[in-house]
């Protein structure tokens, strides 16, 4: 499924250098710092999405068979909201923040000034090719940077469309899209950037960070992980099931970094849970989910083969309790639920990123020998830290324990994935699920340098700062740094000697 488009010229190291040079010149000339410029670019992006919605939906359908509603909402509407928020709040975000100064530096005043980092590189992923490309770009523009966007070649129709639209609507001297695959990305990574934001998998993230290390470039890595869902009993099962389905198959058919990856529930409850899933899945996708228009397909044959490998492993294939059907020519796999696959199976040891949902049970005589739901926290913590973790429960104590004990990028209780839409919550990972965060003001901050500024006056020059160093000065210094009133008064008397 690699891009077949023949490029007119090869994008190599020289091309990359040229691009960076041009952007750096634009940045140094102050183009991107200007508030009006930032507003114009964000407005242009809004216009770009308004005027090209059908084309965007078509490209996403080409690349992923993404249902129109998912494209409209999770890609376009979310982006527009992000743009609008930035337009509304940008002035406020750009304002310096006052910092209180202490007696140790009296008299003085302090502030923290946001300034753009410079020329930044945004490398995005294929599953939400529009959102994951432009949402970081919104933050980078709001913060006043020049930008290169490198969309994923695994979603080529969207990548080409982005290249065309950005060139038509936005300021090409400051914002560029570079299409391509490994060679082009490598050429870009050789350059010196002021920040790199990468969304994708851990293997490539290591390569990105190692390349960034050569130039001491700070990075934001938005990765993934196995996002668990713990389902307690005594809840509204129908609502919980639907919300899990919405977060799993409703999000690009499970190909999303925050999609529920697997479920943990008690042995007793599992039967009810599976039944509820069967009922709701059929209600949503019909008796022949392979035919449903409301499900994305698997992105390409590589991933299709990968998912089948997970499904067809000997000790796993017998655990399918629902689904399992596949259509190779259309790259479709039906929503599939598995019950109690072994802990050492492939499907339990890599991020699934597809329409397969294993349910692991805990309880007396469970294969995990975990008795209670809350013991599953340890099971989760024994793996690498995921981007998100979810729990459905009405038990207040359990909620508190979950929040305290489980380490993940973000947590949601009694729902899945919706925290993505909450711009007041930082969205990012920890450990193997990444570093750094964005969304809302966090996007602005992530592409800014927060410069500390201290204003001092000439008055109040305490001689105890300077040599010759005497015991008397030492005493006074101790008092001043220790904040003792008497000592400070004495130190302040140094004023009159200025």
């Amino acid at each position: 499924m690699a891009s077949e488009v023949e490029k007119k010229a090869v994008f190599d190291i020289d091309s990359a250098t040229e691009v960076v040079q041009e952007l750096r010149a634009s940045f140094v000339a102050g183009k991107t710092k200007d508030y009006e410029w930032r507003r114009t670019q964000l407005k242009a992006m809004l216009k770009m999405m308004d005027e090209n919605e059908p084309q965007i939906i078509a490209a996403l359908r080409d690349d992923l068979s993404k249902p129109e509603l998912e494209s409209s909402i999770y890609e376009i509407a979310m982006l527009k909201n992000s743009c609008k928020l930035a337009l509304k709040k940008m002035k406020h975000w750009m304002m310096p923040e006052k910092a209180k100064t202490s007696l140790a530096t009296f008299p003085s005043s302090g502030e923290i000034v946001s300034e753009p980092l410079g020329v930044v590189l945004v490398i995005s992923a294929w599953n939400y090719p529009l959102l994951l490309s432009l949402d970081p770009v919104i933050g980078a523009i709001a913060a006043g940077n020049a930008i290169v966007l490198k969309p994923s070649e695994i979603s080529p129709a969207t990548a080409s469309l982005l290249a065309k639209l950005v060139a038509n609507y936005m300021d090409s001297s400051c914002i560029k899209v570079v299409e391509g695959a490994v060679p082009e990305t490598t050429a870009l990574l050789e350059q010196k950037w002021d920040k790199i934001m990468y969304t994708g998998n851990g293997r490539i993230a290591r390569i990105v960070m190692a390349a960034a290390a050569k130039h001491l470039t700070p990075v934001v890595l938005e990765l993934g992980g196995k996002c668990p869902v713990i389902v307690d009993s005594g809840i509204n099962l129908q609502v919980a099931t639907r919300r899990i389905i919405a977060g799993k198959w409703g999000c690009n058919n499970g190909q999303a970094c925050i999609s529920p990856d697997y479920i943990i529930t008690t042995k007793d409850y599992a039967v009810e849970l599976v039944d509820s899933f069967k009922c709701e899945l059929e209600r949503f996708y019909g008796k022949n989910p392979l035919e449903s228009k409301d499900l994305s397909r698997v992105v390409n044959s590589n991933h299709f083969a990968r998912l089948l490998k997970l499904l067809d492993e000997d000790k796993v294939s017998s655990k399918i309790v629902y689904g399992g059907e596949r259509d190779k020519s259309n790259l479709k796999i039906a929503p599939t639920i598995l019950l109690d696959v072994p802990q050492d199976s492939l499907i339990m040891n890599e991020e699934i990123f597809g329409p397969l949902l294993p349910i692991i049970t805990v309880g007396a005589k469970s294969i995990n020998s975990i008795d209670k739901v809350e013991d599953s926290f340890d099971l989760i913590n024994s793996g690498t830290k995921p981007l998100a973790a979810y729990m459905f429960t009405n038990n207040k104590k359990l909620k508190e324990k979950f929040v305290e004990k489980v380490s993940a990028g973000g947590l949601v209780i009694n729902d899945t994935t919706v925290h993505l839409a909450e711009p007041t919550l930082p969205f990012g990972g920890v450990g193997d699920s990444g570093m750094g965060a964005y969304h809302g003001k966090f996007s602005f901050d992530t592409f800014s340098h927060k410069k500390a500024v201290l204003y001092r006056s000439f008055a109040g020059d305490a001689p105890l700062r300077y040599p010759p160093y005497t015991n008397g000065k030492l005493r006074l210094l101790k008092a001043l740094l220790g904040g003792s009133i008497l000592g400070i008064i004495r130190a302040l008397m140094g004023w009159s000697k200025a």
Partner: protein, 479 residues
Amino acid sequence: MEKSIAELRETFKNGGTKSISWRKSQLKALLQLINQNEDSIFKALDQDLGKSPVESYRDEVGVLKKSVTYTLSCLEKWVAPKKAEVPLLFLPAKAEVMPQPLGVVLIFSSWNFPFTLALDPLIGAISAGNTVLLKPSDLAPACMSFLVETIPKYLDNKAIKVVAGGADIGVRLLQLKWDKIFFTGSPRVGRLVMAAAAKHLTPVTLELGGKCPAIVDTLFTTPSKAKVTAKRIVGGKWGPCTGQACIAIDYLLVEEKFASTMIELLKKTIKRFYGETIKSLKNISRIVNKHQFQRLVNLLKDPNVANSIVYGGSVDEEKLVIEPTILLDPPLHSEIMSEEIFGPLLPIITLKNIEESINFINSKSNPLVIYAFTEDETFKKRILSETSSGTVTFNDSMVQFLCDSLPFGGVGQSGFGRYHGKYSFDTFSHEKSILHRSFYPEIEPRYPPWTDFKLLFIKLAYEFDYFGLILLLLGFKRS
């Protein structure tokens, strides 16, 4: 060594560092360590760097005591989750951000402020609830030994460890997996640290250096201000470890016509602070070791550079002392003007107009601090918006280090990440977002099968067009 780290991981996993009472007890113990061993600390700093007790108190002991006390008073506030606003559409829901420790962290510190740069990050790491391995620099051996021997006597050995050794130990440590690495040092080693961290996707904070310039605007109309400026420049160059500090003034920028006045003022101040000759030099640190001494002496070897010396220049190899030295307009392409000096040599670069200092500074990589002595508000604004540095300090030097409310860190080649005050706590924390939802009400349009109605509903919802939603639900809007 692997065993030590396994123990740190075990302690963290078992929740040994989570409770606020544990964190407070460790911080109090650290304060006790400092209070009860002040003399030994002064002695070690004198041995390694020739620091006088006042300098040691001002730059190391006092700073640390202040940092611990501040952290203790704010810890409960910092640890508390912060509420985040939730839009109407999501209600009922509760959103918050909760700071959590990262896990097992590695701190590398530097030799020039061997206590501050080791223990200040340690304070942050403890306050955030992590277990820590501290690797002090072996180039300040007495201080390193002190830390290795004394920390286990006061702090929880299962959670906080110190390891002695040189670069080879550092390399071995970097092969292992950490949850965070905090590094203070040179850009060259910073690259190695980050490259090693990349293998494990370990987040890093790099506190590096750069050539910190001091811009001196026309201040000689008032003699008292000129005097204060001179004191602050001299104090900001030779005061901190005889210039061996990441935030020491590296070079001066001043208008041609004021150069000679500036030099005279500086000479007077230097003599008053440190003595008249290299033989009578006092109240000043020495160069840390022969390697650094040689490096600095080599900066003066170039005859064009040597010719530009207007004060000082004498060196004493045996005592590892270089007297405060001022140079006037050394060649701009010489090493002394392209490398971070990190020593007692102060080049003064003259300009026709002080506004040119902005372009001059921008021709070099972003420093950790830019100092500017000026009362021209327009010029101040220009400096702020047209240059980039970790920090900008107006009309003083060094003191921004004492300000717990200002983030301390670099940008570009001077590093990334920041600490001091709450920023230390944040740098060793993961801010976990949490969204609490309830089961009711349920919004049907969230679920397939998709219809035009559902599409329109969600579109309106995403635009927070509540009125539109009502119209739609009442049947007044068509899909």
